[in-house]
Symmetry: C2
Subunit: 333 residues, 2 copies
């Protein structure tokens, strides 16, 4: 087999056929679905969730993951926080001419491993090749289909006093990727938190009542995600600065480079807003899982009717948090 | 609103939010699905079809269409030829920094129009922005979900004597795009055939019996697509060279530049293999539609057991057709 992707790998002919057979079917398996055509699948429910995400992260391999692991985990998490059980994924690759096939095999293998871990099947795919210089390495789109099971799901009904939980430390992914890019001259001893959360979140939904909403604070970070919830549901919410879980290494890099960890991307964290009386039960379930061992309450819903998010400092003063405005770092996911 | 895409449009913060609101929701509507998050949809059947495709065509606007129209029609057609009724689409954009927002609006408007025409809903989306030089303009992934209705569908059971029908002239898309690129020094008076075929093909399935298989001969062209069918189902098939519908302008460009129209991409054509006694009924239905007015029988299944495709010349000699090997033109779709 060749070592590098050529334009002929994307023309739909003999070499496209061999690439699909030797790289994709080799890793994803052929199962009952026709991997690179319309796949026929049977759903166990009429109510399904659909989400799509393109991944353009740079670099494609970073401490704690790769674009392949991220492309599966990211879409699985979008389904999981919506309350759906992730079931099927499609993947679309745009590959630059000259891309090493060994790297492509590693990425596809990472996807297959993460899919297996999360219980989703990759049922359809597509590859396109563009000329050298017309893309940067590889971009991957994954689209996910999940199933809403009766009795599962989030109420989207909030009460004053609801607790805001985050499932672990924030900013790890952002700092790890910035470090891996190597253009800031800092060595960062941090791994990305890139992980699929569906199994942990499914247990939260199954074992507790009173979950109002779940979200994954990716691009835009924790602050942007919670501001969006506040605005969408007309809630005033408060975060306690002193309770935000942030690794000291992340604090260090942020202090050094002037970043705010509230706006750094996470790829393996969930925000869960839950009835106050259920928060301990939710924390207990989260902390049993490796991905949730640092879960903690970081704030609460303090009033209904106005969409805003306040940050309370250890000294008791409050400042208004807004969405991220102006990019911190492109291609973080 | 700004005139050009900036990196901040992709960071998940305030400007991403405004781009989604002002460009995508403006065109696609907000309906009951949350456009840029996991969408909850209710299916009318448990058996669904899923397909994904990335579009990297160059140029993004060409005679007869645009990357937006193509991104909808291409995925709709993949579902339609599988026998499914296209129902939902997702779209993922990778956009180069500096891309004109007016062009993005035109593309998104073309998508909305084509979706409306075909009866599909765009239910989820994503945008990523990469630095100038890291992508060429815009790439679009669409993933489609279709519904298999009871009694519809293709048998995938073939008989000797089955007729091979193509729904119209071949090579139009390939030649139109090559011409639009302008780097061959030829002016090409041909429009792409880019069109959604779902309504026409649904009528064929509903009104006739004996449809064995349907395929859309896109990348790799008519020959590659039929070779794949021949190999997958172990059939010997024959095409009659003199019956292939090819516009004289397409012939002219192919003669001039040394292309074979059998291997040029089509984006609005279907191959239908059907029981011989049903072929006239299928042709009648196709010819009623603008997209099928040049439909014609081009060959037949001549034996079972061996996977090969023969081309019979007007003088009666036969040559073996293979898949496209070696790219003719990159970024044709």
């Amino acid at each position: 087999m060749e070592k590098y992707i050529s334009l002929a790998h994307g023309d739909g002919g003999e070499r496209s056929h061999r690439l699909i057979r030797d790289v994709f079917i080799e890793a994803f398996g052929d199962s009952n679905a026709s991997l690179f055509d319309a796949a026929a699948i049977t759903m166990s429910s009429h109510k399904i969730a659909v989400t799509t995400d393109s991944f353009v992260i740079k670099p494609i391999f970073f401490p704690g993951g790769s674009i392949g692991k991220l492309a599966v985990a990211g879409t699985v998490n979008d389904l999981a926080v919506s309350g759906a059980k992730p079931a099927f994924l499609t993947c679309g690759f745009v590959i630059e001419e000259g891309f090493p096939i060994s790297d492509l095999k590693q990425i596809v293998s990472d996807m297959a491993n993460e899919a297996k871990k999360t219980g989703v099947s990759i049922v359809a795919g597509d590859t396109k090749v563009v000329e050298r210089g017309s893309a940067d390495g590889v971009f991957i789109n994954t689209t996910g289909i999940g199933i809403y099971e009766p009795g599962m799901g989030c109420s989207l009904q909030f009460e004053e006093g609801d607790a805001i939980i985050v499932s672990g430390t924030i900013g790890d992914h952002g700092v790890a990727v910035i470090g891996a890019r190597g253009d800031l001259g800092v060595t960062v001893p941090i791994q990305s938190d890139c992980a699929s959360l569906n199994i942990m979140l499914e247990e939260v939904l199954r074992e507790t009542n009173g979950v109002r909403i779940m979200r994954d604070p990716t691009r835009g970070g924790l602050a942007t995600t919670i501001v969006e919830i506040a605005e969408d549901f007309h809630l005033t919410m408060k975060l306690n600065e002193s309770s935000l879980p942030i690794k000291s290494e992340v604090h260090g890099v942020c202090d050094l480079l002037g970043f705010d960890p509230l706006y750094l991307a996470n790829e393996g964290k969930a925000i869960i807003i839950v009835a106050n009386q259920e928060k301990d039960k939710v924390l207990e379930i989260l902390r049993k899982c490796p991905e949730g061992r640092d879960a903690v309450v970081i704030g609460s819903v303090i009033a209904k009717g106005k969409g805003q998010l306040l940050l309370e400092t250890p000294l008791g003063s409050k400042r208004l948090l807004t969405r991220l405005s102006g990019t911190m770092f492109p291609r973080i996911c």
